[in-house]
Symmetry: C2
Subunit: 121 residues, 2 copies
């Protein structure tokens, strides 16, 4: 799983990680801050952060002994680009299909006056 898009999807597949991202849209936070609401060890949270960081969703800077975590929201674009591309493609296909069915319907009606159902958009 080397490509970034896979990493981003994988990172967001975990509810805890998704929640962390959600909270990071409000404000940067330290590992301790982030860990507080969850019933897991600090180390586990640290691991989650590493996953988010590897996916490019998050960056960490050093600030005395603290390591504030900052959300990198631009990576969202990677996903939305992928999703929107194929969503659009799928929608285009459906409209083409609708067109074809409409044509068949019209031809049918011409030939034998027996229109079919199921072509409503």
């Amino acid at each position: 799983m080397t490509d970034q898009l896979s990493k981003v999807f994988a990172a967001l597949a975990d509810p805890t990680r998704r929640d962390m991202v959600a909270r990071l849209t409000e404000a940067d936070a330290t590992v301790n801050d982030l860990a507080a609401p969850y019933d897991v060890s600090l180390q586990a949270v640290s691991k989650h952060l590493k996953v988010l960081e590897d996916a490019g969703l998050v960056s960490r800077t050093r600030e005395a002994q603290r390591r504030p975590v900052h959300l990198e929201a631009e990576v969202f674009d990677l996903m939305t680009k992928w999703i929107e591309r194929y969503r659009r493609q799928a929608e285009e296909r459906f409209s083409r299909l609708d067109a074809v069915l409409a044509a068949m319907n019209a031809e049918n009606a011409e030939n034998n006056r027996t229109p079919q159902e199921g072509t409503a958009s």
Copy 2:
């Protein structure tokens, strides 16, 4: 990992599965059709389809001995809704931050005529 959103993200975290989804935007396909380009067994592809189906990304109907696979593109909305919500939230936060920095800048300029850089949108 019981919630659907997690399942959708997890499903799309795999490049092979992402490719299948991409191809299904072109046309419905049988398991054999789908398996053709990949260098894995038919059973492996069948498993991938099960994952996609559990995530609600795909549906299968029976048609003689074939099981045509059909893309359910609406589920994409689940993701885009989540992504867009937090992207917007993050952007709002950044604009607030920009506003604060601009205000500080203005105050600075008033006080000692020493404007700073870096507040351009």
